[in-house]
Amino acid sequence: MSAELERFGQRVRAVAGGFPYPPMPVIRPVRSSRPDRSRTQLAWGAGIALSLVLALLAVPQVRAALIEFIQIGAVRLNLIAPTPTLIPPTPTGALAPTVVPSPTPTPLASVLDLSGETTLADARQRANFTVRLPAYPADLGEPDHVFVQEQGASMVVLVWLDPDDPTHVRMSLHQIPRESWALDKMGFSKTGITKEGLANAGLAIIQFAAINGQTAAWVEGPHLLIARNGDLEQKRLVTGNTLIWLAENGVTYRLETELALDEAVKIAESLQ
């Protein structure tokens, strides 16, 4: 650094020392739960995000942008185009060519916003199946957060945080028994855009893999996760990579991670 810039830095430090910080409010030493105000804001944020997604889905053009779905066990994936798409007019001429707003920029609900947080022991007691944990990677340990959602049967969601950055989810694993989720029944027909065309455009990539002999789907890029139980419908836009497979025990597993496919398969095959 030049001597001149160094002197400038020293002056910046001296001036910054006079910054009029506001008095620090009392920070309560809460150790196990979030403050009410943050929780309220979070709930409002999640509500707004969900409303926006629902509003977008109410628009026929956006619904049409959901171009394909793939069903693996209890999970249906709806692949969506993350960039504006030109929808041609219908044969009746009811719709003019329109640029479809993509739902991708919608604020995302985090997996940590799920309700029903509990302990691993409680989840094991409530689930009607054996809750499995990955033995790989060796240093993974037990999940940082465990959620159980009662939807006909108990669905268990395990979340591991990044040890160097606990604001960041390292990976999450949904364990969904056959009876748990009744899936989205909305029928979305293809718009004429093919999966291959989508992959070529770099919008979404899906490939198949095998987990202990069972077929698994691997999704990179944005997709909408939808589950329905009676009148309750949950939607979450997922931007990470996801591996989904139906295991021999009838449980559907859904591993959401930023890792590559080969690492995700190793984790999946290590479940025990």
Binding site: M1, L5, F8, G9, R11, V12, R13, V15, A16, G17, G18, F19, P20, Y21, P22, P23, M24, P25, I27, R28, P29, V30, R31, S32, S33, R34, P35, R37, S38, Q41, W44, G45, I48, P107, D144, L161, P163, D164, D165, P166, T167, H168
Partner: protein
């Protein structure tokens, strides 16, 4: 008692040990959150959230490393997320209307000028400097806040940003050069304070 000992005790559920750590580090965390967010309530919420998350992840923290950079990194990440959220802007707007109705009503900003006059000259200069820093990119802002507002060492800033000390040097150099450009072009009154 050393910081490592306090962390060990806090891991075993000792609330007093955790409170001692919180007292030690909450002020720099709050100041960083305030500089990034510009709102005291939001900053306090962010710090509260950061400490809760840190507590939950404490078992995995390497006690041979200093705690402050790790806490500041969590705080900074949360502040960045909060800055992007819709709710923050709605809340800030609501608080402004509730707290400063006459300021909103006064289109000529006379009340604002009066409030600014009440600040001391050094506070005013620091506040103007903050306005200039906020014209920088998020990466440049962060390094200026850590090194010059919070007065962290290069090693502490490197730990907070998870980069090598050499990267802190180069980022600092770049951010300072850009800040000087902005000050020169857009904040002539501040130039006098920084040229003294």
């Amino acid at each position: 008692m050393t910081e490592a000992e306090l962390i060990t005790q806090a891991r075993q559920g000792d609330g007093a040990a955790w409170e001692a750590l919180l007292r030690e580090h909450q002020q720099p965390a709050f100041r960083l959150a305030y500089l990034l967010l510009g709102d005291a309530d939001d900053a306090a919420d962010t710090v509260q959230d950061a400490f809760i998350r840190a507590y939950r992840a404490l078992d995995r923290f390497d006690v041979s490393r200093p705690l402050r950079p790790w806490l500041l990194r969590i705080t900074s990440n949360l502040a960045r997320n909060r800055r992007r959220s819709i709710g923050r802007y709605l809340n800030a707007l609501r608080r402004l209307i509730v707290a400063e109705p006459e300021l909103i009503a006064n289109t000529r900003g006379e009340n604002l000028n009066a409030a600014l006059r009440a600040r001391t000259e050094s506070q005013q200069a620091a506040h103007t400097l903050w306005q200039a820093v906020r014209r920088l990119s998020a990466t440049d802002q962060e390094i200026i806040y850590l090194r010059y507002f919070l007065d962290l060492s290069e090693a502490e800033a490197a730990g907070t940003l998870e980069v090598a000390p050499g990267t802190v040097k180069s980022r600092t150099h770049r951010a300072l050069a850009r800040l000087r450009e902005i000050v020169t072009k857009e904040f002539p009154s501040l130039r006098e304070s920084l040229d003294e």
